[in-house]
Amino acid sequence: MARGLFAESGADLQLVGIRKEFPGFTAVEQLDLTVPAGTFFALLGPSGCGKTTTLRLVAGLEEPTSGRILLGGRDVTDTKPHRRPVNTVFQSYALFPHMTVLENVAFGLRRRGIDDPLGKARSALRLVELDALADRKPAQLSGGQQQRVALARAVVNRPALLLLDEPLGALDLKLRRQMQLELKSIQSEVGLTFVHVTHDQEEAMTMADTVAVMNRGRIEQIGSPEEVYELPRTAFVANFLGQSNLFPAVVREAGDDAVGADVAGHRILVPRSRAQRTEGTITLGVRPEKLLLLTEEPTPIAGINVLGPGRVTDVSFSGVSTQYLVEVPGAGTVIVFAQNLVFGPVVEPGADVWLSWRVEHGFGLADAPRGSALQQAHEALVGGAET
């Protein structure tokens, strides 16, 4: 086998127009993305959105219906899986049941004729703190231990690209945090390219350099975790990555810097650069922790949006913050996260409050939440524009 294939460092991955159809079902609709060499890339999305299928396409275990896959600039679309410098940590672990843990980890090294496979396998097991169990069979390990063996079995090969399919799903919280740090340090130490699939948004945001949010076989948004969190472009992203308050709004004025829209009779501004659309009916959003609760109507100040009055319907304490639900006539239920700067809630249920936030914290979406009347209006609009 071509030994030169296995780079000392990571390779960049490029997917060009990838589409994957199964009989009667399209798992991946249209995928174009570039993962730069040596980065930690997280693919985030709900169950069934096509994450595993995407990884299988990259590993070569599945053939795309159309599109190309490039690794380090080389087209590997027609390369067999065992010739791709790619390894996978499978969601099902897929450990070899007839081999010991050590032999499992040494498998890839042996296939490539690498020197001292057992020694290298042992040090990989030490990395995941399983060297004491090297002589056991996989069936004698717990789910979390099996997962770490699967991780060691892939990492030990130092592939140019490592694919991780929800590799920490079976671990308890403490070990999971520890493994997240471990993974991150392995990645930066060896400079490999990691594509990490998860449905845990917190995991994606803490570990990844770049996050891609996937929904129904498409990528909805790619960017750094801060970017995607602070400026979601679609309703799906706004609510999958954290929570958002979304309001239907009708654009009244579109200036150079800001767009002014009507939300339940209030004039709400959003920076033009943060609005995906600037005319017609749009959806405006703001994160719950960006909202301020006021017990009196504030005097209008430039650069501050105000919504209200609304009635507090629920207060729930969650340690570092308190969550308030506020019913604002015409705008629906608004969630507010307030830091617990004082003991006890600031207001009680039933109180009348006003909500304010800085204009630059708002965002305007390209679509509307699914199933809402607003979305139907939106689809009519966008559909008309596209045809």
Binding site: K80, H82, T88, L95, F96, P97, F107, G108, R111
Partner: protein, 306 residues
């Protein structure tokens, strides 16, 4: 406070112990018919066979045998029939290997490639088992016809000059091994199928992902994972094939140069009426198979099957 706690703790313990003893008695009771059956129909005949194998001809009544601890019977049958004994194991081994080579791809196709198509899978499985609906003797007799000197197979082989003008197929070792292979293919195929049907393909994919080419992955992953099926299939073929006396019989596919130990036992028991020799041969056959199987299972690492 402590006392009730102790009492509470000890009460269920005695209860559990009693339950265990009770369930042990029930298990014994349920096993009783099976144990009785084994004693009556397996152990007793076996003992009787061992006794018979140690008899020698009566000095007073012709055709009668007396029990005399005549161990020489064993030496005598080995000297007299060593060739047939060796041949039996050779033929059984060949038939097992051929049946395995034929059945593995078939079972793989049925169990792996047809996974998503249960109807086609069941249909083809029925075809594998279908020969059982016709008597084993009839099928072997049919092969005697097919392979006869007047048959299509021989005339074709002669036309292709693969067979000389004076050659035959029936009565040769080739026909006997062929018959054995043919007759035991279902016994090989079914255990292989049940193992391959449950083969976890995700593990095979992991092998390919870890730089195993198709052949290497087969050798290092698929084949070891099919061992339970291979071991049970080969045992189910080898054991009966080694003792078979139908295929090698001259009434079917065999001849004088292909006689197996089964034929010798049959002729000693039923024709020559030399019961001690027949019994000694049977015991030898059984013991040899037991040793071979023991070593084989140990070597293949599938002891848990036994």
């Amino acid at each position: 406070m402590a006392l009730p706690a102790f009492a509470g703790a000890s009460a269920p313990a005695t209860g559990r112990g009693g339950a265990a003893r009770r369930s042990g008695r029930v298990a014994l009771l349920l096993l009783l018919p099976g144990i009785a059956y084994l004693l009556l129909f397996f152990l007793a005949p076996l003992l009787s066979l061992v006794m018979t194998s140690l008899q020698s001809p009566s000095e007073t009544v012709f055709g009668q045998y007396d029990f005399t601890f005549n161990w020489a019977n064993y030496l005598q049958v080995v000297g007299q029939y060593g060739e047939q004994i060796g041949r039996s194991f050779l033929y059984a081994l060949l038939a097992t290997v051929f049946a395995l080579l034929f059945s593995y791809p078939l079972a793989y196709f049925l169990g792996v490639n047809l996974r998503g198509r249960p109807i086609l899978q069941s249909l083809l499985l029925v075809l594998v088992v279908a020969p059982f609906f016709i008597s084993f003797l009839l099928r072997t007799a049919a092969w005697k016809q097919i392979l006869s000197d007047e048959g299509l197979v021989v005339s074709t082989l002669k036309a292709l000059a693969l067979l000389g003008p004076q050659d035959h197929l029936t009565g040769t070792p080739i026909a006997v091994v062929f018959g054995l292979t043919y007759n035991f293919i279902p016994f090989m195929c079914l255990p292989l199928f049940t193992t391959l049907e449950r083969l976890d393909l995700r593990v095979v994919e992991a092998g390919r992902d870890l730089y195993g080419g198709p052949f290497t992955t087969f050798r290092t992953v698929t084949l070891p994972l099919s061992m339970p099926g291979i071991v049970s299939g080969t045992l189910l073929t080898f054991i009966p094939a080694a003792g078979d006396y139908v295929n090698a019989s001259s009434q079917f596919l065999g001849g004088t140069s292909s006689t197996m130990v089964g034929n010798v036992i049959q002729s000693n028991f039923l024709v020559q009426l030399n019961y001690p020799a027949a019994a000694a041969l049977s015991i030898l056959l059984m013991a040899t198979i037991l040793v071979i199987v023991g070593v084989y299972v140990r070597r293949s690492g599938t002891e848990d099957l036994l």
